[in-house]
Subunit: 366 residues, 2 copies
DNA sequence: GTTTAACCGTAAAACGTTTAACAGTGTTGG
DNA sequence: CCAACACTGTTAAACGTTTTACGGTTAAAC
């Protein structure tokens, strides 16, 4: 029970071999006679020997580290990505170092510096805003990296993995329109995030085209409590919309909290489409209709992409990968389309049918 | 734009000083003349110099690393703890390395080994089961560590931070009993987790005492989908309980999903007390009454404790810290106590009153 | 029986820092 | 005026690995 950690030298001494042999036993780099190997193992075990990473890294130049940066660890979407990334990387002998920018550009920059000081062999980052931090730009030619989610696909500085956000917005809007909604508000987290802008643009375009006027855009931020207040404020000054599209899970939570505060029934008095697909969304009597982002698939694609990049070096052209979101239909969107033939352009649909649960069967649309 | 990262040597050469001086400029260990300092900074900037952690660690023996192990990254409770820990540690110049055991003892052991190979200066761990992994036991005298949440407070091998789980269970049970519930089921995640056992025991004791018979215990596991199925299975074979205490946020989600599947209204047809306090719990028309664990406070306490331990060395006696959970009363528990004087021992209370929202004001009970 | 080759070990030189020991300057106190 | 000291900077020795170059056996090939 000595205080100091034993080094390879002591293992070598105890086993009666050179340190190079000990190194070879553990790294498997060169073959070692079986019984020697055994006695080295024995000696190492006896001393409780453990490789010193720092020394190993220094000498070999390989760190086997993958750095991961996300805007918020407590957002299940990012947590899912990290979790997936961690197992994938670990399975291939890499260790993952995680940092969170807490949705703050200053912090992001500082954490990124810390991350890079580990000399990672690869980086997977979800930038917290549209402005790619300088650290990333500087590193792009020397460090394999892939940017995920909050990135513009055009003119990206590195490989990207994201979803077709415009399409996602369109799907949500179309679903609402098909069910007869006209008076639609869109809750966004921040117009500084490219995907949010795209979702919003996608939804807004479809809605404008169908209704002739653009939907209301509500900026609710990335903090749930603040978003709730913002939505409540807005509700006080405006007529309540028929339907709300929340372009983020955080936004959805803000909207739902605000509606709950006023005991506004969903979907009887307001329809909601949420973003992302979490357990709590279906663990309610009126399950939330939502746009699902394939978090697992995003993580796996990013990892696959990073490995390719690590293999190929920086001279391959930048590759954007775009995945597709899908609509999960549950019960939070009311169907306003009248069963009897009527003027479906009627704007006052809200008061038409009497409140009641939507009893259509739940189904998935690709 | 050279491929290779510049070392301290090149910075020294460019600035025309010795490498020791460069080191002093960055570490601040010894004072350096202002203009020299400036020219070193200049040179470093010019070359894009960045300290090599591996070399630094190897020589100094200090890693400034805190290792953190949790059972599941996607569980918001743990994510919150990590997030808090990360900022606290970072503010004091430490870097955090996170690993998830994915609720698997094998994985836990393997990840722990990886974590320890970083030679961290401290470790904060949430073990995934009651059996403390051997790696931790081995390290307890050489590595400052604090065990969080899933630990028994008695005979702990290291400092612990947890909540008073028995009390938490009691609070939940008492709340239900006070509101006239008798037929109570308890959903647990795993009886291999000491806190869960304590919560269960606390609740069960109170319930047994009041009703004369023990509550049903439902083992729903740590996976939401599996838990939902388990609960549905159970519901098929048994009369639905008046009230359910879910001793975990995952369990709560399982129970809620199952109830939602059968469109069982809360609290009209079933009352629910959940665990932990998340945004989605209040973002519903009938907010969930829940036992709140102070995740932030747990993280901060653990960090404070770890710092003390790092300062004091391993010879101080082990200190358990116990925090308190609190009941957040919302609307998911129905009040069965009759307004007119009646036999409150009536077991068939379920059919008595007609379904309706509980409109009592939301209030907190410490 | 000598040459080659294959095999398995070892010695020693890195890797990029930190740090103890030292050295060269003023500056100050006696 | 000299010893003592503070102040800054340098030299060189670590730290624990990996890895290159080499050496010594043994077996195979001629």
């Amino acid at each position: 029970m000595s205080r100091k950690k034993p080094s390879i030298k002591e293992v070598a001494a105890l086993a009666g071999v050179s340190i190079a042999t000990v190194s070879n036993v553990f790294s498997g780099r060169k073959p070692v006679n079986d019984e020697l190997k055994e006695s080295v193992r024995q000696a190492a075990h006896e001393l409780g020997y453990q490789l010193d990473r720092a020394a190993s890294q220094l000498r070999s130049g390989r760190t086997r580290i993958i750095a991961v940066l996300v805007p918020d660890l407590t957002d299940t979407f990012f947590a899912t990505i990290i979790s997936r990334l961690e197992t994938a990387a670990y399975a291939e002998g890499y260790d993952v170092i995680v940092a969170s920018s807490h949705n703050d550009r200053e912090v992001e920059s500082s954490r990124l510096k810390a991350l890079l000081s580990w000399r990672p062999e690869g980086l997977i980052a979800v930038p917290c805003s549209a402005t790619i931090p300088q650290e990333l730009k500087d590193a792009r030619h020397t460090l394999p990296m892939v940017l995920v989610d909050r990135v513009a696909t055009r003119n990206a500085i590195a490989d990207t993995v994201s979803i077709d956000n415009r399409e996602a917005g369109e799907i949500a809007a179309r679903h609402l329109l098909e069910r007869g909604h006209r008076n639609i508000a869109i809750g966004v987290s921040s117009l500084d995030h490219p995907p949010i802008v795209e979702r919003k643009d996608g939804a807004a375009a479809i809605i404008s085209e169908a209704t002739g006027f653009p939907p209301t855009i509500l900026n609710l931020g990335t903090d749930i409590a603040a978003g709730t207040r913002a939505f409540l404020d807005w509700m006080e000054r405006n007529p309540q919309p028929e339907a709300i599209i929340a372009l983020t899970n955080v936004t959805a939570l803000s909207v739902l909290s605000a509606l709950a505060e006023h005991k506004i029934d969903i979907p009887a008095r307001a329809s909601v489409i949420a973003f992302d697909d979490y357990a709590w969304m279906s663990a309610r009597n009126t399950g939330l209709t939502a746009i699902r982002q394939p978090a697992d698939e995003i993580a796996e694609t990013a990892w696959a992409r990073l490995k390719i990049r690590i293999g190929h070096g920086p001279h391959e052209p930048v590759t954007p990968t775009v995945l597709n979101a899908s609509l999960i239909v549950r019960a939070s969107v009311r169907d306003l389309t009248p069963v009897i033939e009527e003027d479906s352009r009627d704007q006052g649909g809200l008061e038409l049918a009497k409140p009641g649960k939507d009893v259509r069967p739940t189904k998935k649309v690709h």
